[in-house]
Structure formats: C-alpha cells, structure tokens
C-alpha cells in the first residue's frame, strides 16, 4: 500500500482517532452504524416513510411544546389585569404579544393533528402491507400503544387553552369516559379531580400532558424503533423478495449455471 497522503493522515488524526476512542468505550459508532446502515428490500417506496414522518411530527411537538411550557401558565385564577383566567391570558399573550409565539403555538396546535393523521396513515400502511405479521407482532402492539398515548396527548392538550370550547369539550370527554361500565364513574371523578371540572383539573391535565404522557410515549417510541431496526423493513406483499430476508450481496457461485435452485432463498 502506498504511503498515506498528508490529507489522509490529517483525517485519521482529527476525526477517526477520536471516534475510535469514543467507540471503544461506548460502542456509539457501531451502534449508530447498526441503526442507520441497514439493508432494506429493493422495492420500498414512499409508503414506508410514513413512520419516519410521524416521528418527525412528534419531534416537532416535543420541541415546540417545551418552549410553549416556558410561557404557558396552567392556572384558572382570574388575572386581575385582563379579567380573564391566567391560563387563557397566557395563551392570548403567546398568540398576540410574544415574538414568534403565534408561529410556535400554531406549529404545536396544527402539528398535533398532523401527528395523529400520520399515525393513522402509518398504521394503515402497515396493515395493508401485512407488515404486522411474524416476527413484527410486538412492533404492531407497541405501535397501538403509541397511537393510544398520542390520542391521550391530544385529549389532555385540548383543555389547556381554557376557553369555552376547551372546557365543554373536556366536560363531554370526561363524561364519555364516565359511562364505561363499573370503573367509568371512578375514572371520570379521577380525571376531573372531584365531581366537576375545576382548577385542579387544569393542573392535573397539564402535568399529564407535558410530563406523564410524553414520558410514556418516548419510551414506547424507543422500543418501537429498536424493534424496527432489529427486525428490518418488510417487503411489500407483491415483492419477489421474501419478506424480512437480508439481501444477499453476492449470488452464490453456481447460480447462473443453474446449479443452485432458487437463488438467494
């Protein structure tokens, strides 16, 4: 091998050596390669990107939500300056007064719908392609839990503007839960912290919306993505490639001569 050029040496010392140092201690580089550089079936299409799209929508919700939490105040007490509840006044301030607040709140408000719509499209794709079948059953089950948690995030977030729509929609939503047999009335009273919605309801739902449910859904998404990486992307039903098999990089010797039946299978 020819002597390394100066440039190669520079790259090796400045980038590769530190990466090796980190990888030796953490396996971070190997892990990243394992996560990113995967074999995918030849005939994947845009349909297989819906999961990544939903993940992107979720990341948008996380980032905008964290920033909104810096300005939003979950209190039903009347703000003496505006004569309106503190929660509603803080939403008004975010929307009308704070620089770029209208944009970030709009991203969060519309992004919530986008996230749920993408979850359903992704679920439909997986269902129609039969991608939930062996060995991906647990990926489907964690996906269903993500869908449920996502809907709960939407349900709890809807109350936070604390306007008439939010209040009465939540009254109806809580009482819908209350009609479930046996546990329903107990669930309804827990959700509203007492027989009726009040100031404690707002604080509880804010906590659920920005601490409990995001924690749960982030854990579920982690498991979901780990399973997707581990099991690989499945081929579409019409594919000539067997689902879930890794592509054979080189055809076995003898295939072309007809000595091996079935080729890569």
């Amino acid at each position: 091998m020819a002597a390394k050029s100066k440039k190669d040496l520079l790259v090796e010392n400045a980038i590769l050596a530190p990466l090796d140092w980190v990888d030796e201690r953490t396996a971070a580089v190997r892990g990243t390669k394992w996560f990113l550089f995967r074999h995918v079936p030849r005939d994947v299409s845009w349909a297989q990107t819906l999961g990544s799209a939903a993940l992107t929508a979720f990341i948008v919700q996380t980032v905008t939500g964290v920033v909104l939490a810096m300005y939003y105040e979950p209190s039903s007490v009347i703000n003496p300056e505006t004569g309106k509840p503190v929660a509603y006044s803080s939403i008004e301030a975010i929307t009308n007064e704070l620089t770029l607040g209208w944009l970030v709140r709009g991203m969060h408000r519309w992004g919530a719908s986008v996230f749920v719509i993408l979850l359903f499209l992704h679920m439909g794709r997986v269902f129609l392609y039969g991608a939930y079948k062996y060995p991906r059953e647990l990926t489907w089950i964690t996906g269903v839990l993500i869908l449920v948690t996502g809907m709960l995030l939407g349900f709890t977030g809807y109350l936070l503007p604390w306007d008439q729509t939010a209040y009465w929609a939540t009254v109806v939503g809580i009482n819908l839960n209350g009609t479930a047999p046996f546990a329903g009335p107990w669930l309804a009273q827990f959700l509203s912290t007492g027989p009726e919605i009040g100031s404690e309801t707002l604080a509880k739902w804010y906590s659920l919306h920005m601490l409990v449910l995001p924690g749960a859904i982030i854990g579920l998404i982690g498991v979901h993505i780990y399973l997707v990486t581990r099991l690989g992307v499945s081929s579409p039903p019409w594919s000539s490639e067997a689902a879930g098999r890794e592509r054979t990089p080189v055809e076995p010797a003898g295939t072309r001569a007809g000595l091996v039946r079935g080729g890569g299978d």
């Binding site: 509840p85 009482n175 009609t179 047999p181 329903g184 009335p185 309804a188 027989p195």
Partner: protein
Amino acid sequence: MSHDNPHVPGASLWPIGFAIGVACLLLGLVISWIVAAIGAVLAVGFGLLWARDVTRDVREEVPEIEAETRQGADAPVAAQPAAAPAPLPTYTRSRFLEASTLGLGAAIGAVVTLPVLGFMVLPSFTNLEESEADLGPIDNFPVDTFVIASYLANPSAGEVTRRTAFVRNNGPAEGGEPSFTILYSRCVHLGCPVQPNGPIDESKTKNVDGVELRPVLAQSFGCPCHGGLYDAEGNRQAGPPVRSMDRYTFSIRNGRLVLGELYAVGNVTGRGASATISKYPWSTPGTHVDGVEAWLYPIVPSQVTG
C-alpha cells in the same frame, strides 16, 4: 411424571368458597363494611387454600434420583451406602444476595410508589367540599314559574365553579310546608349546560348577594350539544339522556332557600309538590341509575365517599 401430560389440577371445592367470598365482598361494598371485611377474609382464605391445592403437584414433585451405582470389579469396597440421602437444595451466598437485592428493591419501590400513587388518586375522592348555596329569600321565587339561579359554588375559585339551577316554587305542599323543584342545569347525557326553552323575563332579573335570578317562561329544557330534551319535571322527552335531570336537596332557613347536595333521579311521576321522585345517589352523567343498565354501575363514588 411425564411432561408430555398436561398438568391438570385435581377437582377442588375451594373455588366455590372463593367465589362466595368475592360476592360477599362486592355486596359488602354496597351494604356495609363489616360484610365486606368478612367477604375479604373468606376470599383471601379460600383463595390461598385453592392456590395450595392447585400447586400441590408442582410443589411436591421431587425428582427421584437414583444414586449411581457401579459394580465394582474388585471385591466390594465396603458396600456402598445404598440410599445416599438426596443432597439438600443448597442455599448459596449468591442466591441469598439475589433474593435480598430483589426483596429490598421491591420494598423500597413500594415504600416510594404507594404513597405517591395514593396522593395521585385519593384526593379526587376524599375531603370533597359539600358547600351549600344560599339563593336568598324565597319571596324571590314566584309560584309555578321557573327561575334560572346562577351562583358561584366557590367564589374564591372563580367562574369555573359557576353552577346553574332551575328553581320552581311549587307553592305549599299538602302538609302546608313549602315545596320546590330544583333541577341542576347539567345534562345527564354528557354534562353540557341545559337551556330552558322559553323567553327570559329580563325586566324581573335580580341579583341577590351574588346570585343571579332570572325568571323564565319555560315548560321544557333542551341541551344544545346532542339534542336532549326534558319536560318541566326533568323527565327525558327526547334525545340521548339516560335518566331524568339531577336535582338538588334544599332547606329553608330564616325564609331563605338553601341548596344542599345533588342527587340523581330515575324518573318522576306526577308533578310539582305531589310528584313521586325515584331518588338515587348522584352519579356521573351518562350512567344509568335504574333498570337493568344500572347493573353496569354497581358502585359509584358518591355511594362510598358520600
């Protein structure tokens, strides 16, 4: 025992005792705590006996290990102790550490988690304020006319505690004591605000100590959300509600009308002072309080916590 054969537990009578205990416990939750306690003891006791019965095979299955014997070629080297006692299962240091780590971890976890879970759940059901509402002198309520009474149940908590009642003075009852029909404005379908179907007499609107009183010419009530319709006694006429409108208990003190607690109503026959009201503990809107469907809601929070 071959592992090809399914391990079928033998017939046992304990499940019957267990079921009786559970039934007794559920019944006791409605009737009395003593019956519930007896039911709990029965259920736990018979449950343990049942578990012991079912797991007997598993627990008592000791593998029969025959001591290895060899025919010594030489003269018998002192006849081997024929039945060497099967080695006792050893309880090693690592097993002890494993068990104590898990046990201590579970104990610490329980000590931390249980109070937190309790704090999360229990305040929704305990120490709920039973505030009464003073609606002012009963002279403000004309006979046989509904008055929309709107007040703050907890003024310091603000508008979110605003409650509305439809109050009708029925005039004196047979015994001469005053009679009121007081309907709660929340729809018993899913809790939306029910509206009186009739014109409000704005000229007679009063504000008595923060309570807004607006007489209304209405003989029925409608809910804007999903089209529930009630008659003047609160009975369902149309739409999705599952029972009659909730009502308030009331008392008259120094000539003033004081609202007490809410209760649920199955059905009302008759009207006004001579009405017969089937009264039940208050429950969430949308839940049946009478008929077969009420079996779906055997215990509601207001039955337990008052």
